[in-house]
């Protein structure tokens, strides 16, 4: 039984169904994604890998509901996002998804704590609850001592950890990270990978990230490879996921490839 076939039988957090995304280019269209299918179960730590221009970021944008597919459907936690109004789509992003960006994208005039607080502010959490959650999130990324520093006083690694804290503070179902280690040196990149993996294991958060960073791929449970907008492989590479999915045949380090 293939991995995806097994996943189909378990509750899915993300479902990508024959999704195509075309962008206008001069008088033609270029396909960034071409009939892509993907299923992601809760608690997965999944990498979308591929060379530049393969469609990694486009796929993440579509899963993150910040872009719309030209055709096909995307399900988040069982909800068909193509049927959502703009307002409900915003609410879905706000409540269910956390984002980590390659360039950190922190609000420069806010302190680390205020940046982490922002998603809670948007969701209307009380001041007391915001304070508690921000403290816990910063603690979980090891930045409690830097809570009152503005982004320009933080290192790249610290900024990205603040971004991770911001992405998880409202306890989303899914965290999307677009090339999160691309702007980090090896030491900071390794720390970030360990941090995300730890959060995945400890809190059961689902991480989907795009990367072509081999360091990150080495720590990943499942790798989906894209080339020219198409999935060319979908493989479990660690035992972590095995214990969470019915894929009994997969062993640690064994590469399984499933056609999508």
């Amino acid at each position: 039984m293939s991995h995806l076939a097994e996943l189909n039988e378990s509750p899915q957090l993300v479902g990508v169904e024959a999704v195509t995304r075309r962008f206008p280019l001069d008088h033609n269209f270029v396909s960034a994604l071409d009939r892509v299918n993907l299923l992601v179960a809760p608690g997965e730590f999944l990498a979308i890998a591929g060379p530049s221009g393969s469609g990694k970021s486009t796929l993440l944008n579509l899963i993150g509901c910040i872009d719309k597919p030209t055709s096909g459907r995307i399900f988040i936690d069982g909800v068909d996002t193509s049927k959502l109004t703009a307002t409900r789509m915003t609410a879905l992003r706000r409540e269910k998804i956390g984002f980590v960006f390659q360039t950190f994208n922190l609000i420069p005039v806010f302190t680390a704590a205020e940046n982490v607080e922002f998603p809670l502010l948007v969701q209307g959490f009380s001041s007391k609850e915001r304070r508690e959650r921000v403290a816990a999130a910063l603690d979980s990324v090891g930045l409690s001592a830097r809570a009152n520093h503005r982004p320009d006083l933080l290192s790249g690694g610290e900024r990205q950890r603040v971004a991770v804290a911001r992405a998880i503070v409202h306890r989303p179902a899914l965290v999307l990270a677009d090339e999160p280690t691309a702007n980090l040196d090896t030491r900071n990149a390794t720390q970030l990978i360990d941090l995300m993996h730890d959060l995945n294991r400890r809190l059961g958060l689902t991480f989907i990230f795009s990367t072509h960073d081999q360091r990150l791929l080495e720590h990943t449970d499942r790798i989906v490879r894209l080339t020219d907008g198409q999935v060319v492989s979908d493989a479990i590479v660690s035992s972590t996921l095995k214990s969470q999915t019915p894929n009994e045949g997969a062993s640690h380090g064994q590469v399984l490839t499933a056609s999508v």
Partner: protein, 409 residues
């Protein structure tokens, strides 16, 4: 909400140089309006007080007939029992005094040359008690002489055309209340410079008894009431009106503003100029701020994309930009109010004089009044202007495609 406002506040100071430049521009507009408006207000105040103190008074009392029909003969619409009326009015609150007047006209001659005059007859004591002193260019004011010698003040233009000076004599001719022609010799005791050339070319003033003798009438044209302050005019007029009912002649009260046609014309003209100036400042701030705020929006495209990705409602993004603009406008207004008042203080201390306005020959002092309503109005004007300027950038920001915004470099 507090954090959201804090974000707006910090964003305003994100690019300090640009914020300072915008504040200076907005503040300059406000300061300009304050200085011009303050100068106009001082000018209106000065014109009002000089109009009143040059003899118009705060309230004038006429017979109703004076406005209902043309006089067949001089003073036939005048006030008959004016001493009783003056006595009644004098006892009112805020009233400093009452001065009777006769307005008449006729011809004057130096024996060689003749000309027309517009004459007024006054009680010099009553006039002086109200502070209505003519602007003498030479000689002295009128005095009531029991000897019966008729004294006269003439305008500078009359003196020039008749080639006379204080101490010289003139003959004046006028039609009496019976329609007959009467004449008296007057001695010129002073030459008056009213500030208006047309007036100076026709001006003649004699005492009330002299005029009544010339015109063969005991009536007066009107009674001029002087108050302790101009602001009391409405209240006093309201309290006097019922007290003048039931007299043999129907009397009407005219407030100074009803009679000061020149003041109203000047005020209307300069108010229009000020409104026009306000419109220019409004659009100047609007157009230059649109550009600045659009630049801010473009610079923060990725940040806005991030906020939208995190589920920030688009209305919040709009509100953020509008609030930032309002804040910027308020700060600019504060700069303008402080700067404008400081400049006004410097100007007032400098003692600058402007050339005489058209129609007058008296230099005008350049002084600026501090008008709170002007400060509030100018501030609201620039804040509204900036809020409107923010609408386009705010709409653009709120409509950004998130994926494109996040890829913005």
């Amino acid at each position: 909400m507090g954090k959201f406002l804090l974000l707006a506040f910090r964003n305003v100071f994100r690019n300090r140089r640009r914020t300072i430049m915008t504040m200076i521009m907005v503040g300059g507009g406000v300061a300009g309006l304050l200085l011009v408006g303050g100068f106009f207000a001082r000018m209106f105040w000065g014109l009002r007080e000089s109009t009143i103190n040059d003899g118009l008074g705060h309230i004038q009392i006429f017979t109703a007939e004076h406005f209902n029909r043309e006089e067949k003969h001089v003073l036939d619409t005048g006030i008959e029992n004016w001493r009783q009326v003056a006595g009644t009015v004098s006892t009112g609150g805020h009233v400093r005094g009452v001065a009777p007047r006769i307005e008449f006209n006729g011809m004057l001659s130096n024996g060689i040359k003749s000309g027309v005059f517009m004459g007024s007859a006054v009680d010099p004591v009553a006039e002086e008690s109200l502070g209505f002193t003519p602007r003498l260019a030479a000689g002295r004011d009128l005095e009531t002489k029991p000897s019966g010698e008729v004294e006269a003040l003439i305008g500078a233009g009359v003196a020039h055309s008749m080639n006379v000076k204080p101490g010289d004599g003139l003959t004046i001719l006028a039609v009496t209340s019976d329609g007959a022609l009467n004449g008296i010799d007057v001695q010129i005791v002073g030459v008056v410079n009213t500030g208006f050339k047309e007036m100076d070319d026709r001006y003649l003033r004699i005492t009330l008894p002299s005029a009544q003798r010339l015109l063969q009438s005991d009536r007066v044209t009107n009674l001029v009431v002087g108050l302790d302050k101009t602001e009391s005019t409405d209240d006093v007029a309201a309290s006097l009106a019922p007290r003048l009912q039931g007299l043999p002649q129907q009397l009407v009260l005219k407030k100074w503003i009803d009679l000061a046609a020149y003041y109203k014309q000047v005020r209307s003209l300069f108010s229009t100029i000020f409104v026009f100036l306000g419109v220019i400042v409004f659009f100047m701030v609007l157009m230059s701020s649109v550009n600045t705020l659009l630049m801010t929006m473009f610079e923060r495209t990725r940040e806005i994309g991030t906020m939208l990705a995190m589920g920030t409602p688009r209305a919040w993004i709009m509100a953020l930009f509008v609030f930032e603009a309002v804040l910027l406008g308020a700060l600019g207004a504060i700069v303008g109010v402080v700067g404008g008042n400081f400049l006004g203080l410097l100007i007032n201390h400098a003692g600058i004089h402007l050339p005489p306005p058209p129609g007058t020959n008296v230099p005008m002092s350049f002084r600026v009044l501090y008008v709170p309503s002007l400060m509030i109005g100018s501030s609201i004007l620039v804040i509204v202007s900036l809020a409107l300027a923010a609408i386009l950038p705010a709409i653009r920001a709120s409509r950004l495609q998130i994926a494109e915004a996040l890829a913005h470099v």
